[in-house]
Point group: C3
Chain length 277, copies 3
């Protein structure tokens, strides 16, 4: 959540959470490092106990930014040691003023992660009830496979970059391996970097295709872009980054757009610049 750029005070954020819940959106995507390690505390201060019971919180740990909010770090790195996983989750729970995360995702593959250590940390968090479901983010197929083989905790999600502007995950094994291992992909930046809607050059063909498919289905271009993700059989869950309620309402409406196979491939062809071979 890029919450700090939305200009909400505590009451404003509390109201915003209610409005989002009213739209039928219940998942809130967090990470300890968002907002220079400050977003979670702001969210936790605003969220009421009643809201907590209605929301699903996705937490992430493992990214060590070299920023003022993370003293002692001079080089950006990843840390999936026992201390950092467990300590990171405990800080997250304190900041969010809750006793459990619905999801914990390992934020980035730490090249130095030791499988036994990760297994122990996740097992501890599961057994203590601090985390209900586990997954990862930005893991490659071989990293997914390694973790799934060696960590005796059910891994149910991999949050990766996938959108009509970044279609690599379709063919590089990421979505295939998610399906094989029983993980649901979550999509970060599901609308690309936003260039699509700012009118960036080079995206005209895709913009036109989104508009055409949208016309046929009675949906807006951003809804079609999300429906394109929802159509994939891996069960992709788009993580929408906006705080604007109108956009979130639109996103929630995307689920009702049912694209045909032909719509889907038309959008893919427009995105990649060529039809399938």
């Amino acid at each position: 959540m890029r919450l700090f750029s939305w200009g909400l005070d505590e009451q404003g954020l509390r109201d915003w959470i209610d409005r989002v819940l009213d739209l039928g959106i219940t998942s809130f995507d967090h990470a300890d490092c968002y907002g220079d390690y400050g977003v979670q505390a702001a969210f936790g201060a605003a969220m009421t106990p009643a809201q907590r019971e209605r929301v699903e919180i996705i937490g992430k740990v493992g990214v060590m930014l070299a920023t003022p909010g993370n003293p002692g770090t001079s080089v950006k790195h990843y840390d999936l040691s026992w201390d950092h996983i467990v300590g990171g989750v405990e800080r997250t729970l304190r900041d969010l003023r809750t006793d459990r995360l619905d999801w914990l995702l390992l934020h980035r593959p730490d090249f130095l992660m030791d499988m036994d250590e990760v297994a122990e940390a996740l097992g501890h968090l599961r057994d203590s009830g601090k985390v209900l479901r586990f997954g990862m983010s930005n893991f490659s197929p071989s990293q997914m496979r390694l973790l799934a083989a060696q960590v005796p905790v059910k891994l149910e999600a991999n949050q990766v970059q996938i959108s009509l502007e970044h279609t690599d995950a379709l063919a590089d094994g990421t979505l295939d391996t998610c399906q094989e291992l029983g993980m649901h992909p979550m999509a970060w930046s599901p609308l690309g970097g936003g260039g699509l809607f700012r009118g960036d050059a080079g995206l005209d063909r895709l913009r036109t295709a989104l508009w055409e498919v949208g016309q046929a289905h009675g949906g807006a271009a951003d809804q079609v872009a999300l429906a394109w993700l929802l159509r994939h059989p891996a069960g992709i869950r788009p993580i929408v980054g906006t705080g604007r309620l109108d956009r979130l309402a639109g996103a929630a409406g995307a689920a009702s757009l049912k694209l045909s196979r032909q719509d889907w491939y038309k959008l893919l062809a427009a995105a990649t610049g060529s039809e399938v071979p």
Copy 2:
């Protein structure tokens, strides 16, 4: 089969089938979309019941061309839905005037294929006796692995592009994964695009190597190119695309050429432009 470019009428095609069988070649590679969805009906009209008992028919479904022969399709796409797999096989059987396919290959990996749906479709075709053996075509290692893990039907082949002009499958995991999963590769365009024999520039070194190895073994260049595939331990079956009986006779003779390891690597070096590292 690119049958329509061979200029055969029904009786001519019937005779051609006999001649091909006489050469010891018994497999005929079909796909519903070949000849703009027309080749199979022409083949079926020509093939006699006696011929049917002697041939092995490879069928493929899943490619939706945006052509006159496939009305309603405006964007080339793939379709491995239950309806299209089962419906496509039933059309294929009708067109070929037979009651079974010896092989069904899923022609292209449909990004939207649902594993449960594919599993049910293949199971139905197996249980009904309409298809005897199953495989796929142009599937990547992760796609092979996904299908093999989730579809409880024996998958025995992957037809991929592999030849001395396209050697990627050797090192990109395709042939390794075929062997690991017990699938036999079939090779489409096993002689490359034909540029080798038309004298295309850039292929001189390979052409020379084929000629030299051919001289040593008493074989023609195209036979050596096929023998190169046959030498691989994965059990590659080349799918020769020509209708010319002299070429087919040559192809059938390739099996008797036994290349040494050194011959094989000499051809590979000539094809890739450098010796192995």
Copy 3:
């Protein structure tokens, strides 16, 4: 071992082995093709029976060079046939004047290796006691996976190129797959091609980072480069290529340098030119 470039006579080599053992280094990395198929005989002539009991010998077979030392070969190729694996090991044992190899590594992936044949060859070498432990070298993830699935002999190592100058193995699945399959990576050229220490342009940033980390830990740059490998959880064993005792002493000392995660990522960023994403 690039032994012939070190200018040692038989007694000199014998003394050198003692000195190396005194440093606590006990593994000696051989291959039949090193020194144009001559290094092993020179090493075997020098090594005393007492030394043999103290050393661990890594042998490799499978590379067929087109050199005077390998008559009959006109094209560089690989050969992992039964004859070449078993024959190669027997020649290696004769040359080294020993009755067993502590390790046998298949030197390069032979595209023509037949899994059944490899399985039989390795099984024979294990059962006859000629080889104690098995592995491979330069195998890709899919090649590792194929061999591990089909060869019923425990495979415990893959010797690959990995260093701060060649970091591909970190992210291309090589180290992940080693860990998944229980193989230890060995690192060849663990200090890169040596350009780092010759002052090659383009490596300034890495050289500076090595120096800085070394200053903080009281180690030399080459020790830090080895400590960087040792820090990885896959259990990388660096194969140091030098014959210089001062350098080997330094290498042996690298094990005492314990890099922090931040040190490690700082070196990676310096090596690749950018921080992790």
